[in-house]
């Protein structure tokens, strides 16, 4: 079997969580994957990453927001598929194995999976908040069982793409994630992707764990630094911008 998937890890700052992320990659049952760490151009950060892993690392200058880092990684992948592993998340040992297994049998341009969403509660530590994406397999909930449909995503906002797997060609053709949309960028991408006729499939297996309120994470910063109406602005922007494949300038006024 040839390696056909790259795991991209964008890292803009160091946190010990990254050790778990890397360990979860090393413990995959199937080792047919490449790894690409995209680091912000900060010497101490690069040094620290190199001290804990020998996975390939590239350095991103300029914008080091999440989307720009991801897109830099995509440009440097050589495989047909890639996935984005947030450095505070972990993949389950079956992640790569199930990607290959399901890719052989189902047609998709993007694959989500059943994902555990973990939340940090001070007294209890990390606890399960929800499992995500499972409902597309419930009979009658989507037009095509196992696949997202546009109406559902648009209506429910319930589009959950942590650690999604993308077909590189479809990602590039559709315009990829947009760095001008600071929040709801995954949602905007999902709407655009489906609107263009690409297929988003949910692999019905528990394949990763996602942390939602880690101190200092991108979304944590957004929720602390953005006003409620600013967050709502990005949601409305996502609902308008999905019709355009290019990353257009946003009028923030």
């Amino acid at each position: 079997m040839n390696k056909n998937i790259t795991i991209i890890i964008p890292v803009h700052e160091y946190n010990d969580y990254i050790r778990n992320a890397i360990k979860s990659i090393e413990e995959q049952k199937n080792n047919q994957y490449d790894v690409l760490i995209v680091s912000a151009n900060k010497k101490p950060l690069i040094k620290k990453i190199k001290s804990i892993t020998s996975f390939k690392l590239i350095v991103k200058d300029g914008n080091t927001d999440y989307v720009s880092m991801v897109n830099e990684g995509v440009l440097n992948t050589k495989t047909d598929y890639f996935t984005i592993l947030e450095y505070d998340d972990i993949l389950y040992p079956n992640f790569i194995d199930n990607f290959y297994k399901y890719q052989k049998e189902f047609e998709f341009d993007m694959a989500l999976h059943i994902c555990k969403e973990m939340v940090l509660i001070e007294e209890k530590g990390e606890v399960l908040n929800a499992i995500k994406n499972e409902f597309v397999w419930a009979m009658g909930r989507t037009t095509n069982v196992g696949y997202w449909d546009f109406e559902n995503v648009e209506k429910s906002n319930n589009y959950y793409s942590a650690n999604a797997i993308y077909k590189k060609s479809a990602y590039v053709e559709s315009g990829g994630l947009k760095s001008n949309i600071k929040l709801w960028f995954n949602y905007e991408f999902g709407l655009r992707f489906l609107n263009l006729g690409y297929k988003i499939f949910v692999i019905p297996k528990m394949m990763s764990e996602h942390h939602i309120n880690r101190e200092g994470s991108y979304l944590d910063n957004c929720s602390k630094n953005m006003q409620a109406d600013e967050q709502k602005f990005y949601l409305n922007t996502a609902k308008k911008e999905y019709m355009f494949t290019e990353d257009r300038e946003i009028n923030y006024n």
Binding site: M139, P204, M206
Partner: protein
């Protein structure tokens, strides 16, 4: 006259009428067994005519070349005589009574597939051998034959095991979160599903699939998508559904059976069996293990090759033997009448 009938039987010139029950009364596996019998007898050179009481069956697939008539049409077209055989499922025993009242002179053969139906339509005090003059019974398992003889010792029973077609040996991929469910009574299946979702709401998105009216090949394809199977029929006599599921390496969870089927090796039981409540919890554990890929298939692989054990060859072989014996019985009977009437 008797010689003429005997000759007809010997030369396969007599007719074999097979009653086809209404599909809503019996399971598709049982119906398929009847069709298959008609198909194989036809292939063996017998004159087979299927007939129905109400609602003409449609979509008969590979069986469409076998003549199918309504009861009224059959009575007009054929004059049933003493050389003919008429095969009637046990659920329709009173139909035999009606035909006897009308002095239909053929040999009636009961086709017995489920112990549950044996007394379903019998009246108090009635017996197959005495009331309905039944001498020959075709059964789908040895134990059911013994069971019938326990009540009616004067009948002869012949075992013809159902066929598990070779295509069921194609292993299921088990990629979909689907549970195949077979319940004798639709209500039982619905109650099981409701209870499962109520007790394990985090799995309410798992689909339970019942395959009522599919032809066997489409049903096999649908089964390919299932990772688990639940069988709710404590009176199951042969167990076509469990064997099909096991042949596909799908994990079988079955309601404990009142009677042990011929194929079940008590020292090495295939599948997991228990009461409804136990099955609900087992299923949750198995699905969770499947979701995390923490489920070891090899622990639940069947110990026997059921498509080989219950092959088409086996079915034809047993059917031929049964009919040879039934024919000989009938010839002996006609010879006795001949002797008694000095014909």
């Amino acid at each position: 006259m008797m010689d003429k009938y005997i000759e007809k039987i010997k030369n396969k010139e007599n007719n074999i009428f097979i009653f086809q029950p209404n599909a809503i009364n019996i399971s598709s596996g049982m119906l398929n067994y009847i069709y298959n019998m008609a198909y194989c007898l036809d292939k063996e050179g017998y004159n087979v005519i299927m007939f129905y009481e109400k609602n003409k069956p449609t979509n008969r697939g590979k069986y469409s070349h076998i003549e199918l008539l309504s009861l009224a049409e059959m009575q007009v077209k054929y004059k049933v005589n003493a050389s003919d055989f008429m095969i009637i499922p046990e659920l329709y025993i009173q139909f035999v009574g009606e035909l006897l009242k009308n002095k239909i002179p053929c040999e009636f053969i009961i086709l017995a597939q489920t112990q549950d139906f044996m007394f379903e339509n019998m009246e108090y005090g009635q017996r197959w051998d005495i009331t309905f003059n039944i001498r020959n019974v075709i059964v789908n398992t040895d134990w059911y034959g013994k069971y019938i003889k326990g009540y009616f010792p004067n009948v002869e029973t012949y075992t013809v095991n159902p066929q598990i077609p070779e295509y069921f040996s194609e292993k299921a991929k088990k990629l979909h979160p689907y549970v195949a469910i077979f319940a004798k009574k639709q209500r039982d299946g619905e109650l099981f599903t409701k209870k499962f979702f109520a007790k394990h709401p985090h799995l309410a998105w798992i689909a339970f699939k019942a395959f009522g009216n599919l032809d066997r090949k489409s049903y096999n394809e649908e089964l390919n998508e299932c990772a688990f199977a639940v069988c709710l029929d404590e009176n199951n006599t042969f167990g076509t559904f469990p064997l099909e599921v096991l042949s596909k390496n799908i994990l079988l969870l079955g309601q404990s059976l009142k009677f042990v089927p011929d194929w079940m090796d008590m020292n090495n039981i295939d599948g997991i069996w228990g009461n409804d409540e136990e099955l609900i919890d087992y299923l949750e554990k198995m699905i969770t293990a499947w979701l995390y890929d923490d489920y070891d298939d090899s622990q639940h692989l069947p110990t026997q090759n059921y498509t080989e054990l219950y092959s088409e060859e086996n079915f034809i072989h047993q059917l031929k033997n049964a009919f040879e014996a039934i024919k000989n019985n009938r010839i002996n009977f006609l010879n006795k009448i001949k002797a008694n009437t000095n014909e």
